[in-house]
Symmetry: C2
Subunit: 102 residues, 2 copies
């Protein structure tokens, strides 16, 4: 079984978070997750090849933006709101308030 790396809260780097959010697909995923906190990976970017989707979810997870829960065949992804608010107060709120469409 592959280890699924997720940084501890105090290991989350701002540059890694910005890198994760610098891609339109990942930014859209984060916005969808903020709108619906309980969603399966498979329903996000459903029109995308699985390998591409997995890549984007890995970047989000390894940066510390998201956490993945595996429940059988069901992969559930959530934004690490508490950790991000603790490390970078106001960042998620700023993201929600950004005026542009993706």
């Amino acid at each position: 079984m592959r280890t699924r790396f997720e940084p501890h809260c105090d290991e989350i780097r701002l540059t890694a978070v910005f890198h994760a959010l610098s891609d339109p697909v990942r930014l859209d995923i984060v916005r969808q997750l903020r709108a619906d906190a309980d969603v399966a990976c498979s329903t996000l970017c459903a029109d995308m090849p699985k390998s591409t989707r997995s890549y984007h979810f890995r970047i989000l997870r390894e940066s510390g933006v998201t956490r993945t829960f595996i429940e059988g065949a069901y992969h559930r992804v959530v934004i690490r709101c508490d950790d991000l608010d603790s490390r970078f107060p106001g960042l998620l709120e700023a993201l929600a308030r950004a005026s542009e469409p993706v």
Copy 2:
């Protein structure tokens, strides 16, 4: 003379801003510029090759994070605080409050 591209306020893309801030050198430049708004390019990252420094300043400028004023041989860089606050309210403040060292 080369054209120095700087996007209009409403052309600034959040993903481009995040990309600009995803590099430790550029994040450090932005933090230094916030601490001292009137600083010459040459005094920032003074130990870095000029070409590398120019590259980072170009990414910051083209993303809309900074504006460059050329006064003779003196290149002055400022953060586009008003534009960024207008497009992405709270983002610069979140950056200032981020708890990690670069």
